[in-house]
Each structure stands twice: as C-alpha cells, then as structure tokens.
C-alpha cells in the first residue's frame, strides 16, 4: 500500500455540554491514499462530519476537545501552529460543505471570494487571481464564466452555487478534497451533474473524502468505504467488497432499509429497530448492540476493527468472521419473522422501548 496522504489515528472528539461530556468521535482511525476516494457513510450522530471538521481543526467551539493524531504528508495537523495550519487549509486540504445556499458570503461576488482564497495562499495580483477564478468557474461547468464571475451568490441557483464552491475549493490545487454531503441539498438531476464533476476531478488525481448518508452516492463514486456508527468505525473496505459482501449488521441494515429504484418491491422495508445512538449515551460495548438482531453476550465488550476474508476489508463485530452472508439472511429472517401478525406489534413495541430509552 502506498504511503497514505492522510492518516488519522485514534481520533477522539469530545464536547463539554450541560449534560456532561459527550463523545462525538470515539477513537476513529482511517487513512486516505493519494488519488483515492474515501466514502464515509453513517446516519446523523455517527460523527462523520465532526471527524472531518476535526481533521481540519474547524471545530472552534471552546467546549470541544480533540485528541489523537492526524498525519497529513508526514505532519501532525493537530499540533501544527495556527499559522501553518492556515496554510494547509484551502491550499493542501480543501473542504466543500453541504448547503451551497449558505456557504458563500452573501455580500461579495463569487469571483471575489475565489480570488480571496487564491490570494490568501499565493502572491499573485488581484487581476491574475480573477483570471484564474474565471478559468476555475468555466472548468466546473459554469457557462459564460467571464461574466458570471461578477455575480453574487444569490444570483446563482443551488447547483451553480455548489459548482462555484467546488471551484473555490479547487482553486489552489489541493491534494485532498473533503466534501461533506455535497449533493444532499440538490435535486437528483443536478446531483448527477455534481457527481460527474467530482468523478472527473478524481480522474485528474485529487484524493477525496466524501461524507454522505446516501449509500447510492457512495456506491457510485467511492474507491473505499468507511461506515461509521456512534462515532466509531463499524466497517471499512473497498467499495465492491463492502457493497457486495457487507460484514457488519449495521451496514446490512443501512443497505436493506433504503427503498430502491430497481429490483423487487417489498411491501414492508427491512428496518433497523430503534433510533441512532446519541453521542451522549454511547454504550460501553458495541455501539450498535442495542439495535442489533444478532447481539449476544460478547457484545458487551467493545469490538475492534478486524480484517475478514480479505485483509483490506475490516469490521468491528463479534459475530463469527466466516459466513457473514448467511448471518445476514438469518438477521433478515429474524426481522421478517417479526413482521408477522403477532410479531409485528412485538417489534413495534421493542422499537418503541429503545426509543423511550434513548
């Protein structure tokens, strides 16, 4: 395996709140190789956004403590002096956020904001920076970029704004692009355009971290997938391996509960009982155990990521490592059994109990 571009070890993010210490990210480790697209998936509260904000040290709330190690090109970003960190942000690692409607400062033109980023990192004239902004905008597919560069954010549609934000992120040729739900706020036809754009960027060599809740988006664009639950990694592996042979019961649930546009139609969707674990109430053992249909005594102990059939495909689960596909069917059957007349109420009741507990 090539030297990773980004190597995160034992990242821990804690928030001090009125209810006490809340652990949003709990000992997370992952890496991104140069030119690779890492898809990070999980539901709300899984820590997917927080962990990436922590990597770039964008968690400015004074009640946050971040520990661990974030190695980027050999340096630990968490211990970097502020000034050097600023030189990394935007130039070596750029970030694109979910909502393009609010991501740009409303009072400056799009071109001005792109030029601002370039001039923050390079000693070039305002004129040159603006010329580059035009080129960037036209590169991301904004028609008539030379005049659109003078437009204000509110004069762009959502899709255009997200393109502009991406153009800005790319302005200093970053080695790594972190995109946090870049298409969630967009319509499906526009999403397809943005995904195409990101795919194209990747072929030009940028490494990417794509944070999303949409399994479909990840399955279209990621090289490797990291599934997070409760601030911990549940499963990690090459895309094909994770989607074709998911190993963790949570990944099974995520994949099964999405209504699909193809394949057989089920009258009832397989569900994961209960609600996503809240960062304030992480269990001692496996974070997913309370919702897991196959939980057993061992789950009281916290599982670590261990390789399964292939060394690159890891999961944090105490189930026997072989025949996960069979276990998946068992779990599905266990869920299906409860969908019967009597069992249904039972499962609703169970679901309800876990919701009450949370």
């Amino acid at each position: 395996m090539p030297e990773p571009l980004l190597d995160v070890r034992d990242l821990r993010v804690r928030f001090r709140t009125r209810q006490g210490l809340v652990t949003a990210v709990d000992g997370l480790s992952f890496s991104v190789a140069p030119g690779e697209v890492l898809g990070v998936v999980g539901e709300s509260g899984s820590g997917k956004s927080v962990s990436m904000l922590a990597v770039l040290r964008l968690l400015t709330n004074p009640n946050v403590t971040v520990s661990g190690e974030v190695r980027f090109r050999g340096r630990d970003l968490l211990t970097l002096p502020d000034k050097e960190m600023r030189a990394v942000r935007g130039r070596e690692i750029a970030m694109v956020f979910q909502d393009p409607m609010t991501a740009l400062t409303p009072v400056y033109t799009v071109g001005w904001q792109i030029a601002e980023q370039i001039r923050a990192h390079e000693r070039i004239s305002r004129k040159e920076a603006e010329t580059r902004a035009v080129r960037l905008l036209s590169d991301v597919g904004i028609p008539d970029a030379a005049s659109r560069v003078h437009a204000y954010p509110h004069e762009f549609s959502g899709g255009m704004r997200q393109r502009a934000v991406i153009a800005m992120a790319l302005s200093c040729d970053p080695a790594l692009l972190i995109a946090d739900e870049p298409t969630t706020a967009l319509d499906v036809t526009v999403q397809a355009q943005i995904l195409d754009l990101m795919r194209e960027l990747n072929t030009q060599g940028s490494a990417m971290v794509l944070i999303t809740h949409d399994m479909g988006v990840v399955s279209q664009i990621a090289d490797r997938v990291l599934v997070l639950y409760g601030g911990r990694a549940a499963e990690e592996g090459p895309r094909r391996a994770v989607f074709h042979g998911p190993r963790h019961p949570y990944t099974w649930g995520l994949l099964d509960s999405v209504p699909r546009v193809g394949g057989p139609r089920l009258r009832r969707l397989p569900t994961i009982a209960g609600v996503p674990v809240s960062p304030g109430a992480l269990p001692e053992g496996c974070a997913f155990a309370p919702r897991c249909r196959l939980r057993h005594d061992r789950c009281a102990e916290r599982p670590v990521l261990t390789p399964g059939d292939v060394a690159s495909h890891l999961d944090a689960c105490w189930l026997p490592p072989d025949d996960r596909a069979g276990l998946r069917l068992t779990a599905r059957a266990a869920g299906g059994e409860q969908s019967g007349e009597h069992g249904e109420k039972q499962s609703e009741k169970q679901g309800r109990d876990t919701e009450v507990a949370s």
């Binding site: 770039l56 964008l58 400015t60 004074p62 600023r86 030189a87 990394v88 942000r89 935007g90 130039r91 750029a94 970030m95 956020f97 909502d99 609010t102 991501a103 740009l104 400062t105 409303p106 009072v107 601002e116 980023q117 923050a120 990192h121 204000y152 509110h154 934000v165 800005m168």
Partner: protein
C-alpha cells in the same frame, strides 16, 4: 431607478402632508385650546380676541386656515410665531439646524466607532471575562438617562472640578463651527459624549448579537476552510455582514435625532438646536413654530429613510433587485 426615486419622493410628500394635517388638527380642533387667547395674552377682552382672530385668519374655516399656514410657511416663508410677534419661523429653524447637526453628527461618529469596537470585541471575546464586562459598560450607558447624565457632567465640569481638573471646559452654549472650530469642538465635546454614550451601548449590544450569529454561519466556516486569517474572517466576512442591519438602524436613529430627538441633550447643555426650539414652542403652544419644526423633523426622517434604502442596497447585493 428613476421610477423608484419618484415613487419614493411621492410617498415622502404624502407622509409630510399627513403629518402637517395631523399637527394642525391637534392644535386647532382640540377643544379648549384657543390660539387666539394665547396670542392676545391673558385678560384680553372679547373685542381684542375677535380682532386677533381676524388678523390671524383664525375665523376662517379649517381647511382654508391650513392652506394659509402652509402658504406662509412654505411659499412666502414669512410665517410668524404666535408668541414672539415678529419673529419668523423659517429663520429660527435655519439658525437651529447647524447646532443640532453638529451635535448629532459628532455624537454619531463617536457612538458608531465605540459601538462597533465594543460589539466586535465582545463578540470575539465571547466566553471570556471581557465579554460580559464590555456588555456591562454598554448596559450602564443605556440605562443612564441623558438629562441626568448631562446634569451630572455639568455639575462636575462646571462646578465641582471646574477649578482643577476641568478648567479647560467652556461654559454651556454653542459656538459656530465657522466662527472658531476649536471652540466649537470644545463646546460640543461633553454633549457629544453624553449623547453618544446611550447609543454606543445600544449599538454595541446589537452588533455583538449580529457578529456572534454571523460567526456561526456557514460562510464563516467556509472562510476558515479557505485558510483565511481569523482577523480577516472577522472583519471582512462576519463584521461586514453584521453591519447591514446596524446601518439601517443607524439611519433611522440619525434621522430622528437630527429631527429633534436630541432634545434632552440640547436642553441640558443649553444648545439652541431644533430640539430646544421645539421644546420651547411646545411650552408656549406656539403652533407655527411647532408646525415648522415638525415638518422639518418629518423631512429628515423621510430623508434618512431614503438614504438607508440606498445604503442598504449598496451594502447588501440581495436587496438590489428587490
């Protein structure tokens, strides 16, 4: 743009007309208030009253009287005070205007500077000890009434410490800017500070809230992710956007103050400004002067409103096409 300006102008005229009618009616249609009696003085006999009434046109129907007054005020510009016979209204206003403008402009400069500094500082230092401290200063400023504070200032500078610490402070009053700029500034210094203190507190509080909100906005996170310095993020992004609502509020406050709302400060420091003029006219129920000052005030408020709209569009591109 022209249509917009015309519309704006038309509505301004309408507002001023409505205000003048209202003021006129309050004074003439209020039962028990007989301007003729005031003009003629106490103990005037019926014949004198009738004569006064006739010579002032007070025996004509209301609409005619209104039109007459407006003609004298705006066209002939020879409307006379009911109380001080012979003194015309317009020159009085013209004389008072620079005093008020000096007071309000100087104070505005001080309070905007202080308010922006305090508000921004408090917002950046949020969570530290300095933030509540700055805000406390602001609250104190807001809660000290101008007339009381003015009196205390006068007491200290003119009496208690006049011989020692404040020997350089001139007596209350006004010196024209054209006459002697140094003396002008010296005379205005304490009135400025007194008036500014109140508004600085209000503006600091408002701005702090705006900046705190802005610092939590997505675009600030974007700016940080771009690798900008904290200083640039604060000034060029957060503060810049926070100023939009502040500026519009400033326009309204400024208009009202120039229109005469600085009355208390003017009275306390013996400044012969518009506020003082209105105050005196009200004391005497001197309708022509009241009418003049009220219309003058309405003019400034409307003007300030229009300026705010233009400024708002300058500051906020989103408002330009609306």
């Amino acid at each position: 743009m022209l249509v917009f300006a015309l519309k704006r102008f038309g509505s301004a005229l309408l507002v001023m007309f409505a205000i003048s009618v209202l003021v006129f009616l309050i004074f003439f249609a209020t039962p028990g208030v007989d301007p003729a009696a005031r003009i003629a003085g106490r103990n005037a006999d019926a014949a004198t009253l009738a004569q006064v009434r006739h010579s002032f046109g007070l025996d004509r129907p209301l609409p005619v009287r209104y039109l007459l007054m407006m003609r004298h005020l705006l066209i002939d510009r020879d409307l006379e005070s009911f109380v001080n016979r012979g003194s015309k209204v317009i020159p009085q206003i013209v004389q008072a205007t620079p005093v008020t403008l000096s007071l309000v402009m100087g104070a505005a400069l001080i309070w905007m500077t202080a308010g922006i500094l305090m508000g921004t500082a408090a917002a950046t230092l949020r969570g530290k000890a300095a933030d509540p401290l700055i805000m406390l200063v602001g609250v104190v400023g807001v809660s000290l009434p101008a007339y009381w504070l003015g009196e205390v200032v006068n007491l200290l500078t003119q009496k208690q410490f006049h011989d020692s610490l404040f020997s350089w402070v001139p007596p209350p009053g006004y010196v024209g800017l054209g006459q002697n700029p140094g003396q002008w500034a010296l005379h205005m210094l304490f009135p400025w500070l007194t008036l500014a203190l109140l508004y600085a507190g209000i503006y600091a509080r408002l701005l702090r809230g705006e900046v705190v909100t802005a610092l939590g906005e997505d675009y600030v996170r974007t700016a940080r992710a771009k690798g900008l310095s904290e200083r640039r993020i604060l000034l060029r992004h957060a503060l810049r956007c926070s100023l939009i609502p502040i500026v519009s509020l400033f326009g309204l406050d400024f208009g009202a103050l120039v229109g005469g709302a600085a009355l208390l400060t003017e009275v306390v420091f013996g400044l012969p400004g518009i506020g003082k003029l209105t105050y005196d006219a009200l004391q005497n129920l001197d309708l022509p002067v009241i009418m003049g000052t009220v219309l003058y005030a309405a003019f400034f408020v409307v003007l300030a409103n229009a300026l705010v709209d233009i400024l708002y569009a300058r500051l906020d591109p989103r408002a330009r096409h609306a």
